[in-house]
Subunit: 230 residues, 2 copies
C-alpha cells in the first residue's frame, strides 16, 4: 500500500457519541432515559441521510436532519421541549468526547501521514467538534463538500481529489462496515477499528469478524503501530 | 464587532513567499537571479487568476496556473529546464517559511476564535504548506471550495457558509488591499497586517496608509492583543 492520507470517520470511530450525547441530554430532558434516547435518535441517522442520497429530498445539512429526527422522536415519546431546548439538543452533536486513545494515536499517525476528518457531520459541526476535543487533524473534510453523504462514492473521491492524491492513496479508518464498504467501492484502502462500546453497553457494535478490510486495529495506537509511525 | 472566525490569507500574510520561493529556486535554476525570478513569477499570479474569475477560461487549480506562468517566464528569459525541474519548481509554493510571529500569534488567536486559512492556494497545497510550517489553524478553507478566486465574493461567502456564521462574524486578515477590499464587499470584517518585506527588499508592499480596514496590526501578535486573546 502506498498511503499518503489517513482519513478518519468521527462519530463512534474517533469520538464516543453514545456517552457524549447521553451525558448532555440528561440535564436538558431530565425525565427521559438519556442512553436509550441517544440510541433511538442515532437509529434515525442513516435512514435520514439515505433520503438525501437517494434523491428523495434536496441536500440538507446534518444539523437539519438531526433536528427533524429529534422532533420526530420527541413526538413519538410524547416528550415536550421548547424550541431553544431542541436547538441545544441538536448542538450536543458538536461537542463529544474522544475515545481515550484517539488524540495520542492521531498525533502518531499525523507525524508520518496527512490526517483528515472525513465524516457525514457538516463542516462547521466538525470544525467545532475537532477543536473542542483537541483532535490533531491536518484538515477537515466533510461529506458536505460533496453535497451528499457517505457511503456515496462521491464523498470519498472528493476527499482524495481535494488532497490531490489517488483514491488508493487514502486509507479510510472507521468502526462501521457500511463506511468501509463504501470507501472500498470508491477505490480507497480501508482500516477497521473495533469500538465495541460505540452504541452503548446494551447494543452490539460491528465486530472485526464481520468486516472486510485491509487493516484491522483495536485502537488508534494499534493502528499507528501498524502504520509504522514513530 | 461580533467576530467568531478569524480567516487568514497565506502567501505574504502568514508566510514569506519571497524568501521561500527564492531560496528553493536557487539550487534548481543556479544561473538565474532567484529573487527577481520569484518576483516576476508572482507578478503573473493575479492576472492568471483574473482569467478564471472573468470567465475567460474554465476553473483551474493554482498549481496549473503556476505551471503555465512558469513556462511563460522561462520562455521569456530563455532559460531551459526539463519537465521534472518545472514540476519541482511548481511545488516550491507548497513549502514556505512562516513569518517569525505567525505561529505564536495564530496560537493566541486560536485560543479564543476559530482560525481558518483562506487562500487562493488549492486545498492540497494549503494542507501541505500549513502542515510543514506547523501553523495552528482549526481548518483549511481554500478558494478551490468555491471554484473561483479571491477577491470574488463567492470565496469569502463560501467560507462563512461552511463555518455556519454570518459574513460579518468573519474577520479577514491580509497584507493586501485587494483582498481586504474583496472581503469587505462580501460583508466580512477586515484586518490589515503590514508585511513591508513581503515582495522582497527592493519592492514596495501595501502600507497601512493606503488600506481601508476595521483593524490594523503590525504583526499577528499585535493582532492577537487587539483581539483580546490570552
Amino acid at each position: 500500500m502506498d498511503i499518503r492520507v489517513v482519513a478518519f470517520d468521527i462519530f463512534g470511530t474517533t469520538v464516543d457519541w453514545y456517552t457524549g450525547v447521553a451525558d448532555q441530554i440528561r440535564p436538558l430532558l431530565p425525565d427521559v432515559d438519556a442512553g436509550g434516547f441517544a440510541q433511538r435518535w442515532r437509529d434515525r441517522y442513516i435512514p435520514s441521510m439515505n433520503r438525501v442520497r437517494e434523491g428523495e429530498r434536496e441536500w440538507a445539512y446534518l444539523d437539519t436532519l438531526h433536528r427533524e429526527s429529534l422532533d420526530d422522536l420527541l413526538r413519538e415519546l410524547d416528550v415536550t421541549a421548547d424550541d431553544e431546548t431542541r436547538e441545544r439538543l441538536v448542538r450536543v452533536w458538536h461537542r463529544l468526547p474522544a475515545w481515550p486513545d484517539s488524540v495520542s494515536g492521531l498525533a502518531r499517525v499525523r507525524a508520518r501521514y496527512t490526517t483528515a476528518a472525513l465524516s457525514n457531520g457538516g463542516f462547521a459541526l466538525l470544525t467545532r467538534l475537532v477543536k473542542s476535543a483537541a483532535l490533531p487533524f491536518d484538515c477537515i473534510l466533510s461529506a458536505e463538500l460533496a453535497r451528499t453523504y457517505k457511503p456515496d462514492a462521491a464523498v470519498y473521491r472528493t476527499a482524495a481529489a481535494l488532497l490531490d492524491v489517488a483514491p488508493e492513496q487514502v486509507l479510510m479508518v472507521a468502526a462501521h462496515r457500511w463506511d468501509l464498504d463504501g470507501a472500498r467501492a470508491a477505490g480507497l484502502r480501508t482500516a477497521f477499528v473495533e469500538r465495541p462500546r460505540e452504541k452503548g453497553p446494551d447494543r452490539e457494535a460491528d465486530r472485526a469478524a464481520d468486516v472486510d478490510c485491509d487493516l484491522y486495529a483495536d485502537s488508534f495506537l494499534d493502528l499507528a503501530t501498524q502504520l509504522d509511525t514513530p
